[in-house]
Subunit: 309 residues, 2 copies
């Protein structure tokens, strides 16, 4: 297996200014797996669901080339459930309900075929579970990317710092970067966080794009301005999945290629927010992705040398 | 005269988390004029000061090639004064004091040599005064850029809408774009504002960069991540001055060249915030500007075609 991803495969119920859903399929690992599958067909997921999770969805993931040997299905138990409501400013959301269910006792199983994975995506989850996944690998991956959130900084900071020590790339948002580092300036925050372990820091800024810090360089990626954001759920996970999927497929870990991977992840995330849940990703074509990436090129590229000077 | 700029030439007293100043030289037109002077030596300003304004500063502007024939000096009166305090989030500021003084009865005088200016920068000021400047020109300029703020949307919206009708480029921040258009999405806001007159809209997003909308296209310019923002006062004016100065000097109003002008303006603005007031602009070299523009290139440019696909 080239790439393995760990995270939730779950149900969400979402309310945004654009509408409301019943229980739909969600979960960080679902978005990560789907996004990565557009770039690499050699990936698997480490996750747990209850017996209430629809077989048809698992079949859909499998058909996209996502290996499910690392997915545990717990008989007689229920899948993780999250319910939330977004405000007009889609950066702000209230959690209405969280039911851990199968996650309460999640002990990740790593199939033999996963144990020498070169690329590992640790999706947003309890930091101690993220650590356990790394501990159970047979060899050191080429690249470990970790996504987390303020919640874990609040209640499990020591565990988070422990796993960060074994991570190459950390993805968090700007407020989380400030919280984790104690620095307001993102430039200074990146320096503090680099000393915690991750050589690269990606700061996700939603409608303002993303920043990559590392190798003494900075890359600023734009976000595509959208007329309508339908549902931001899963955008960060989609971004991370596209990012690591692109790197896994190209096998190039240079800063220049990380830039491309960030654009690829950003392009995928810009689709996810167009519909509720995973709907848009499930119906996405390679041609649409290529066109969207071209839009990112037109959005941000300029040629200063033609006239200036 | 190729370029004329109208706006305040004034005193500021500023407090930021980094320190505090006594009365120092400020004013939108001061920053605009200084910024534009790095690109064009054929510019003049339309403004008013009292007899308290230091001659040495006027001499400094003049030495940079800024024509002062349109600057009125009112004997026995005082210059405009603004005092403000910024919080840790430099996007938020409190106005502590505003003394209009000479601005209360500002009747802009346009010298004969200014009346056929091809480029006109209407800096942040009473919309009716911005209108008057346009009314007093002898010929229609090639490009009129207008900067304004929420204050004028609150108290002089009709006057603002009137002048917008004769404007080619509007520069405002994201919250102001939302207020002026009544649309939350900036894509939709841009459409509404285009119908008010300006063919191009530049949305200034501070630490998140800037967006240019026009000709059915969008350009997203990054902001340079800075370890330390000393004082954001004048950053937007510097940006606008660099933008129109670059266009005036190149004479190219294509969308591609507007992108370059935005990068040029962004580069200059990134210097302004490094020190209090106009200090950094006053001591800036062309080599520093070129290096800074190169930093913007490295920050945002990528080559998607090398590996992708």
């Amino acid at each position: 297996m080239s790439l393995i991803s760990v995270g939730t495969v779950a149900f969400d119920a979402i309310e945004t200014p654009m509408g409301k859903t019943d229980k739909i399929v969600g979960g960080a690992c679902t978005y990560i797996g789907l996004a990565a599958s557009f770039f690499t067909k050699n990936s698997g997921i480490v996750a747990v669901v209850g017996d209430d999770f629809p077989e048809s969805v698992l079949k859909g993931l499998s058909e996209r080339g996502i290996n499910l040997d690392g997915l545990q299905i717990k008989e007689g138990e229920k899948s993780f459930f999250w319910s939330g409501k977004y405000h007009t400013n889609m950066n702000v959301r209230d959690t209405l309900d969280t039911q851990l269910n199968v996650l309460e006792s999640f002990d990740p199983i790593i199939p033999e075929s996963y144990k020498n994975a070169e690329y590992v995506m640790l999706g947003n989850l309890t930091p101690s579970v993220q650590s356990t996944v790394l501990d159970r690998l047979a060899s050191k991956p080429k690249l470990v990317v970790l996504d987390t959130m303020n919640f874990w900084m609040d209640i499990a900071l020591d565990d988070l710092k422990k796993v960060l020590n074994s991570v190459d790339v950390l993805t968090i948002n700007d407020e989380e970067a400030r919280q984790l580092s104690g620095e307001y300036s993102l430039v200074n925050a990146a320096k503090v966080i680099a000393e915690m372990g991750p050589r690269y820091l990606i700061i996700k800024k939603g409608e303002h794009g993303a920043l990559l810090f590392g190798d003494g360089k900075i890359f600023s990626a734009p976000a595509l301005p959208l007329a309508e954001v339908f549902d931001p759920t899963g955008a960060g996970d989609t971004f991370a999945g596209g990012f690591i999927g692109y790197l896994a497929e190209s096998g190039d870990l240079s800063f220049e290629n990380m830039k491309r991977a960030i654009i690829a992840g950003s392009a995928l995330a810009s689709f996810t927010v167009e519909k509720f849940g995973t709907e848009r990703l499930m119906n996405l074509t390679r041609e649409e992705i290529d066109n969207r990436i071209q839009q990112f090129v037109e959005l941000s590229q300029f040629d200063m040398n033609l006239v200036f000077g």
